[in-house]
């Protein structure tokens, strides 16, 4: 019973990783850039939600929607201002830009006195409620995160698989020049993907707010979400959620059964093993060029 309870705790934590990892995968899948500022986008989303809740006094669900809208606009603007100028340059440039963006976001938020320097919590209507079934307990906050994770990954998977725009995004990710030739507006699509990814980050941030504190360094969870994305395969949306789950469960079990310290390195060890055994992740596409 205890084992099952630990696994459930790991699963709900895993969905948090999965939600952040979804953002990485979206951007990587469509633009082949990696957004090292994904955790910081989540942090910005949480702070946006906090601002809306405290200063505008909005209810929780309106906060969620408002934060998503603001972050989507922010993501689009970021792509336009920062990513578009390095469009077509080696991926290293994009990595550096997003690392810089992460530093910038963290620094600027910390510079707001009394707001960015402290830890805050955000109340949700479902906070504190629990579901009990057969001796197992799960918090309502976790249920909401799990639901949101499943819903988002299914929606995004559908978007990429079945809609015109999603297939266009896939084409862009495979060959930008060829996509341009067949009339796909490559740049605009990239902006759209960034907006989507930032919106996902905002969802993660606002949903995480009731169970974790909102503070300027909460974006470091992005470092845990990287392994999640790698385990699932960096170009697979369901893989991101699955990777997050695997990671969350392994961490929870390692934290309970192994000596102290193993919980913190569990993610790193798993990612190294996965990279050594199956470099493209569990659900990723392997591609190789014949010479």
């Amino acid at each position: 019973m205890q084992f099952v309870q630990i696994v459930i705790g790991g699963i709900s934590q895993g969905f948090v990783y999965g939600l952040v990892a979804l953002g990485f995968v979206l951007i990587y899948k469509a633009t082949e850039a990696v957004n090292f500022a994904q955790g910081e986008l989540m942090m910005l989303g949480a702070f946006c939600g906090l601002a809306l809740a405290t200063w505008a006094g909005l209810p929780y669900w309106a906060v969620l929607l408002g934060s998503v809208a603001i972050l989507a606009a922010f993501g689009f603007a970021t792509e336009f201002v920062l990513l578009r100028p390095v469009f077509g340059e080696p991926s290293f440039s994009a990595i550096m830009v997003t690392i810089g963006l992460g530093f910038l976001a963290r620094g600027l938020v910390t510079m707001i006195p009394g707001f960015g320097t402290d830890s805050h919590s955000l109340d949700a209507p479902f906070k504190g409620q629990v579901i009990e079934a057969g001796g197992l307990v799960i918090g309502m906050e976790h249920v909401v995160i799990i639901g949101a994770g499943l819903l988002l990954s299914a929606t995004l998977y559908g978007l990429f698989r079945f809609t015109r725009i999603g297939i266009a995004m896939q084409a862009v990710s495979q060959n930008q020049l060829a996509a341009w030739y067949v009339g796909i507006p490559v740049r605009r699509l990239n902006g759209l993907v960034w907006a989507l990814s930032a919106a996902v980050a905002a969802v993660a941030g606002v949903l995480l707010a009731p169970i974790a504190f909102i503070h300027a360094n909460m974006g470091f969870i992005g470092l845990k979400a990287f392994p999640a994305a790698v385990i699932g395969g960096f170009d697979s949306l369901p893989g991101a959620i699955a990777g997050g789950l695997i990671l969350g469960v392994i961490e929870a079990l390692a934290g309970f059964y192994l000596p102290e310290g193993f919980k913190d390195v569990a993610a790193s060890v798993v990612v190294l093993v996965v990279l050594a055994v199956r470099p493209h992740g569990l659900f990723g596409q392997a591609s190789r060029k014949r010479v």
Binding site: V86, S91, S93, M96, A105, Q176, V265
Partner: protein, 358 residues
């Protein structure tokens, strides 16, 4: 303007291309040797740090700038070098021996990272290096019987070398000598077949393989050499900072090293040194600038992080070749005056081909 008439094939790979090189670098060397008499003790300390970071930057430059592999885990090699040096010095090993051991330890760690690097590339490699960095940091924090854990580890002065490096000028000369010889090693390496193989792998793995380059072995060599240099810097760092704790070797440290390489100029040996100067000078400049800013901005905790971020973004957007790239442009302008053409260094925009099977 200088015209070079090539009369010998060796001229293409000579380190001292013409008399201008000999003059200016000779002048620089003379300045560096005279430095302890010219500047205050505080500035000399900063100069030592510049030397240490320049060595680490050279190591990272080999991997990032010349082999095209992004590493976000170099703080781990720095840490391995530093801790090995500290522990062996405490056991009474003389400096030359303990430094060699530190370099070897870091290099073996580099080979271990190189192993996944054989199979993965691009972003996967960056994540593998982050993972390795996290693991090393955690080991440093948990292996308390050896590393002292989070309580830290104090480092004694280096032994051997006739006892003259305990004082500040002595250690400065030691750092200078090691930095200069590392630079020469890297320059020599880059004109050797191994170094050219690095560049070939960076530009296209497929073509490198077609030319008969063993890509996997080349990458592992690059990682090992890079880790060795960074470990060397770590050993000096241990003696300079005199107190080691695991939180000096986090991912943030790796990002700072990457920033050093990037701001200095990716793919140039000058860049590693310029980047080190920049990285050490920046916090000082921020501290000075604070006095002129209103207290609401100047006193804010996140100022340094925000400035770091803004600078990284600014360099990527406006000067992707870094400080060295800017200098090359200025020099070209002066040499060509008044015939500099605006478009000479214009960045060519191309549609990106996928890097998945480059």
């Amino acid at each position: 303007m200088r015209f070079l008439y090539k009369t010998d094939y060796d001229q293409d790979i000579r380190l001292v291309r013409h008399s201008g090189y000999a003059f200016w670098y000779g002048l620089l060397l003379a300045l560096l040797i005279a430095l302890p008499w010219v500047v205050s003790d505080y500035l000399l300390d900063q100069a030592i740090f510049i030397g240490i970071y320049a060595i680490a930057g050279l190591g990272l430059m080999l991997v990032v700038g010349y082999t095209g592999l992004v590493s976000l885990g170099h703080a781990a090699f720095l840490g391995i070098g530093a801790y090995t040096e500290a522990i062996l010095t405490a056991r009474g090993w003389p400096f030359p021996l303990s430094v060699s051991a530190a370099v070897l330890a870091a290099a073996s760690a580099g080979v271990i990272v190189g192993l996944p690097a054989l199979r993965v590339r691009g972003i996967y490699l960056a994540i593998a290096t982050i993972a390795l960095g996290t693991i090393v940091e955690e080991i440093l924090a948990r292996w308390e019987s050896v590393t002292g854990g989070n309580a830290g580890l104090s480092v004694s002065t280096p032994r051997g070398l006739f006892g003259f490096i305990g004082a500040a000028p002595g250690f400065y000369y030691l750092t200078l000598a090691i930095a200069i010889s590392s630079t020469l090693v890297v320059l020599n390496l880059l004109r050797s077949p191994t170094g050219r193989a690095f560049v070939a792998v960076r530009d296209s793995e497929t073509s490198a393989r077609s030319l008969g380059i063993h890509v996997a072995r080349t990458k592992t060599t690059a990682f090992a050499l890079s880790a060795a240099l960074t470990g060397l810097a770590g050993a000096l760092y241990a003696h300079k900072i005199r107190f080691l704790s695991p939180d000096q070797f986090t991912v943030l440290q790796s990002v700072e090293l990457l920033m050093l390489v990037f701001v200095g100029g990716v793919g140039s040996v000058h860049g590693a040194v310029l980047g080190a100067v920049f990285l050490i000078a920046l916090p000082q400049m921020i501290a000075i600038a604070k006095d002129f800013l209103p207290p609401a901005i100047g006193g804010a905790a996140g100022l340094q992080s925000a400035v770091f971020g803004a600078l990284i973004v600014g360099f990527v957007l406006f000067e992707p070749l870094g400080l060295y790239g800017r200098w090359v442009k200025i020099r070209h302008y002066l040499e060509m005056f008044p015939f500099y053409r605006r478009g000479t260094y214009r960045r060519v925009r191309v549609f990106q081909r996928t890097e998945r099977n480059r």
